[in-house]
Amino acid sequence: MNPAFSVVFLTTLIGAGQGLFLALFLAELMGFGAGTPGEHALLAASGAVALVFTALGLFASVFHLGRPERAWRAAAMWRTSWLSREVIALPAFMGLVFAWSVAHWFGSAATLWIGWLTVLACLALFVCTGMVYASIRFLQEWASAFTLVNFTLLGLASGFLLATALAAYAAPEWAGNFGLLAFVFTVAGGISRGLSLQRNARLKPKSTLQSAIGIRHPKIAQRSMGFMGGSFNTREFFHGRPAGLLRQIKWMFLVGAFVLPLLLLALGLVNGVPGLLALAFVVQYLGLLAERWFFLAQANHPQNLYYQVVS
């Protein structure tokens, strides 16, 4: 596929926002915010940060639409479409994060049950976002449980890393807890992403030129795709970059999203330098942009079988 940057930003930004909220709510469950009003305000402010990330993601997604003014219609087909379910889950999650943050700001006792509802919306959003890609069965690189696991683990990793960086500035005694979980999620995300790369490298395309035109002969070559200019089919479904660049981007994201952030995180935690933790988040986020671009680009659409030779 030809990766759309709107989708790259949408999935990475909301992933970080979701992970950050889960980190904050976990801290609340573990007793943060129970004491001073300052801690409540801190949770409210961090909730606002999570909200900003998801809002930026929503904003990015608008650029994917040809007719954004009709976007409200996208909530209609939630019975059959994972995209429609995502369109419902995202605003629901945002609304609940907003309510949770406001409740904290005013020191309300309702934060706990609002928080649990938000956790539900957050998990639903992870599932919906992953299933948008995993549910297309003939995009074999996407149609796997790895897609869901990776989206979730990588969202958790970047969200917890963001929580670590925020805590390092505002509540240093919590940076260690968040940092430990950020470490765990980044390692787990790295392992599952590595396994999915391995799976995709072994994939054998189910569709062939033979099944595409229904002629059983081992030697078939396209001589003309039927037109000499470009078309939607030649632009949307292939990234158009050489295989070498894809390999480079793969190594870039493996280093940028996993190795470097882990090093920076460990250094930042051991030496207690908040700047390093913030840098770790930024580096990982950039790495995740490359990861998501690669994820989209790697999918090989069977329609490309029909568009191989201009004339």
Partner: protein, 242 residues
């Protein structure tokens, strides 16, 4: 239940692109608005088409066949593009099985085109909505046209009659008979989309000429002995013809 579809005879398609141009002409002139043509005379022209004719070479020289392969929406009986649409703009008509896009509901998210393994959908860059073959729904249902003309533009335009149109659920229709008797097949059966459009395979065309057909033992021209008599090998095929 009716399922309208095209059956395309690869045995007689000559790759003239008349179906492509007639499709473009009809569908760019309809009430749904023109199909975009961006820089048609520029260096990098592009445009929206519902139908394409592609060319494949099968086999290895000198034993090759050139196969012209028209491709448009297959109007799958289980269309993967329909359930993924978040707005319900993509739908399959109950009454005749045509897969259509409601241009007033489409938000142009392109998700349906990702969910079509055949690449049958093209976004219209000007109207910013997804477009696709409608089986000329505005022609075939137009009661003001003579019955013989209530067919898709591509079917009417085909000079070799390579495109048949009809109801594949009616066992007595032209298309059902063609599929049944000439081994009509569907594209990419591995995805279980059950395309309604079918393709008829190439057939080997042979005119067998036997020596017996050229020389008959009872040839009256030779009986009188004025022509040199070729050697007889007994009775030939033609002698048993009746």
């Amino acid at each position: 239940m009716t399922q309208l579809a095209l059956v395309i005879d690869l045995n007689v398609c000559v790759g003239c692109h008349a179906c492509v141009t007639s499709c473009k002409q009809w569908n760019t002139s309809g009430s749904a608005g023109p199909l975009v043509d961006d820089q048609p005379y520029g260096a990098d022209p592009t445009g929206t088409f519902f139908n394409r004719v592609q060319t494949f070479e099968v086999g290895e020289f000198p034993n090759t066949q050139t196969v012209h392969f028209p491709k448009s929406c297959l109007h799958c009986e289980d269309p993967p593009c329909v359930p993924v649409c978040p707005t319900g703009a993509s739908y399959k008509r109950q009454e005749d099985g045509i897969v259509l896009v409601d241009y007033d509901k489409c938000i142009g998210c392109k998700y349906c085109s990702w969910a079509c393994p055949y690449g049958a959908r093209e976004i219209d860059e000007e109207r910013k909505v997804m477009t696709k073959c409608t089986l000329c729904v505005d022609r075939i249902t137009d009661t003001k046209l003579p019955v013989a003309e209530r067919k898709p533009a591509c079917v009417l335009a085909c000079p070799t009659n390579a495109r048949l149109f009809g109801d594949v659920h009616d066992p007595d229709s032209v298309v059902s008979q063609a599929i049944r008797e000439r081994a009509g097949y569907a594209l990419m059966p591995e995805w279980n989309t059950r395309p309604a459009n079918h393709y008829l395979p190439r057939r080997r065309t042979e005119i067998p000429v036997h020596a017996e057909d050229l020389v008959r033992v009872d040839n009256p021209l030779k009986i009188d002995g004025s022509q040199p008599e070729p050697p007889h090998h007994g009775a030939g095929r033609e002698d048993f013809a009746t």
